[in-house]
């Protein structure tokens, strides 16, 4: 099955046919470039479409198949990359003026793995500047539009990647998720989005936002395709010191394994105030679908999750204020001249960063500053301990947890753009997972009262991707 509204076959089907010599990778890439040509002017999913290099890579795949070689599990599959993933010699902007025109001198590990697996990079996708935002309205290069309704945001920060899959520009995309930046746009655009366990996927070459939270993960039109992509990018990488050194199980096998006997808990703290009734109803329907498929469904409690938003908006900006100190006009990126180095740095940063990035740098600098460190940052780190403990208690009773991915369906442009706190609240269901370093994913499960897609979030304990994908596979079938 393809994503609703998507003209493209699944990644699994493309790869199987290309490997068997029954499909041309070049024709596949051309078809997707055609889809981009037809609708990109409206959607603006991409900062850069790599038509020439994608065609050349596809021709090389076809030549290898003709020579009797196997190009790999993603042979000839077009993929879109969030523009905070480094691609050697290819502009990588983070949708920021401060990195405009920068060409990284190396590839991210995920980019290397995709090439080894035979995937074809078709473009770099738009995002909220430095992945800070929930709507792509913070991009320096203009927002991405939701393919389901161009008057609405695609979510963010990986809005371009979500929109690229939803629009049929590519069957697969990669994003990054620090507080929900894969799952929230996946939910709002009606596609599958996975935030893997912290450390499962190498972050070498992912431009850092908040290093104790950032994780790369897949977007796809189907759960099976998301699992296939996760299998390719997961696994230990010596270039990332936070990478987990353990064997990777088969994720694609998990998708069809069913949920017989799986214990599923609905997170009561994420079903109450602030969650739209139509969204809540879809989560309840999802729980019923899992129960009908043999799961044991009950009510779970993660009390400290209610403090997740506050902890996150101290921890993530604190880490960002440190990570973004590197943009100083010295080694790469924008420089605005000044009489002294200090003046040059201030002029460069002031001209290069947008309002939300400045806001978070200042918030983080404040939370870390003398006199406030204990009251804010220190408290947030302790709340993180409470959240981890509460999840651990919940996972003694349940194998996976269930919640909405987002409090509402996709909102309209400008609705929250002038109120940072209102925008932050759209991440309330996704943030606790990042603080705990655990996996979670969003699966499309019907529509809200406005006809826009609703995403159901499946959460799992550390390295619990297999039970998470089992539940996701069942929900996908039930949603048909």
């Amino acid at each position: 099955m393809t994503a609703p509204g998507s003209p493209t076959p699944t990644a699994a089907a493309i790869a199987a046919e290309v490997r068997a010599g029954a499909r041309s990778a070049r024709a596949t890439v051309d078809a997707h470039l055609g889809a981009i040509d037809a609708a990109e002017a409206t959607i603006h999913a991409f900062n850069l479409v790599l038509a020439d290099s994608a065609r050349a890579a596809a021709d090389a795949i076809d030549a290898r198949v003709a020579a009797g070689e196997d190009p790999g599990p993603l042979a000839g599959v077009p993929i879109a990359l969030k523009d905070n993933l480094c691609t050697r010699g290819v502009p990588t902007t983070c949708s920021s003026r401060i990195l405009e025109g920068w060409r990284p001198p190396y590839d991210a590990t995920v980019v290397t793995r995709l090439a080894t697996a035979g995937a074809v990079v078709i473009g770099k996708t738009n995002l909220d500047e430095f992945a800070m935002g929930s709507s792509t309205e913070n991009s320096a290069f203009g927002p991405t539009r939701n393919p389901r309704d161009p008057e609405r945001v695609p979510g963010g920060s990986s809005g371009g990647s979500a929109a690229a899959v939803a629009a049929g520009f590519a069957p697969l995309a990669l994003g990054s998720d620090t507080g929900g930046s894969i799952r929230q746009p996946a939910a709002l655009c009606g596609v599958v989005g996975v935030k893997p366990t912290y450390g499962l996927v190498s972050r070498y070459g992912l431009v850092a936002f908040a290093s104790s939270l950032d994780q790369i993960g897949p977007f796809a039109g189907t759960v099976g395709d998301a699992a296939l992509l996760l299998e390719v990018i997961a696994g230990h990488d010596p270039l990332d010191s936070t990478s987990i050194d353990q064997p990777v199980p088969s994720y694609t096998e998990a998708v069809g394994a069913g949920v017989d006997g799986l214990r599923v808990g609905i997170v009561s703290e994420l079903m109450g105030e602030g969650i739209a009734p139509d969204v809540r109803a879809r989560v309840e329907a999802a729980a019923e679908a899992l129960a009908a498929a043999g799961a044991e469904v009950g009510e779970a409690s993660v009390p400290a999750a209610t403090f997740g938003l506050s902890a996150y908006y101290l921890i993530a900006p604190a880490e960002a204020s440190s990570n973004l100190a590197r943009y100083d006009g010295v080694r790469y990126g924008l420089r605005v001249d000044g009489a002294t180095t200090s003046e040059m740095m201030e002029a460069s940063r002031s001209a290069g960063f947008g309002a939300e990035v400045k806001r978070r740098i200042m918030l983080g600098t404040y939370a870390l500053s003398a006199g406030y460190y204990d009251a804010f940052y220190g408290k947030a780190l302790k709340v993180r301990t409470l959240i981890i403990a509460d999840f651990a208690a919940a996972y003694e009773r349940f194998d996976v947890l269930l919640s909405p991915t987002t409090p509402t369906t996709a909102f309209r442009f400008g609705e929250k753009a002038d109120d940072p706190l209102a925008m932050y609240l759209s991440d309330v269901c996704t943030i606790p997972t990042n603080l705990a370093g655990q996996p979670a994913m969003s699966v499309p499960f019907g529509s809200g009262a406005d006809g826009m897609p609703v995403g159901v979030q499946i959460l799992a304990p550390t390295l619990g991707e297999v039970p998470m994908l089992r539940a996701a596979g069942v929900l996908e079938e039930a949603a048909k």
């Binding site: 920068w102 400045k358 500053s369 804010f376 408290k379 302790k382 940072p420 603080l435």
Partner: protein, 105 residues
């Protein structure tokens, strides 16, 4: 939940100080906007600032990693010319910056 009062409200001067520490120039109008927005965010965070968490250990990182080491062997590094080509200004294979001496610390 705790006797500890939440921190006092954020002031415009504090925002100006923080902006200077972060090497960001802000106009008086921006200062007003940021002060209001940051105060609203910190006000929301007051729910945890007021918690009594004595005896709870902080978590700075979700993985129990300590001293991750690599093998001590020679490997290729980034190409110097390729790295320097990305810099705004270079001289003699080094990054060139404006005057740094004579500045206030």
């Amino acid at each position: 939940m705790s006797d500890a009062p939440p921190p006092v409200a954020l002031t415009r001067d504090e925002v100006a100080h923080v902006a200077a520490l972060a090497k960001l120039a802000v106009t008086p109008e921006e200062l007003d906007t940021y002060t209001g927005q940051l105060a609203a965010i910190l006000d929301h965070a007051a729910d945890i600032a007021g918690l009594d968490l004595d005896g709870v250990a902080p978590t700075a990182h979700p993985l129990p990693l300590v001293n991750v080491l690599r093998a001590d062997e020679v490997r290729a590094t980034l190409d110097r010319d390729e790295v320097l080509a990305a810099a705004p200004a270079t001289e003699d294979h080094r990054f060139r910056v404006p005057a740094i001496l004579g500045e206030e610390p």
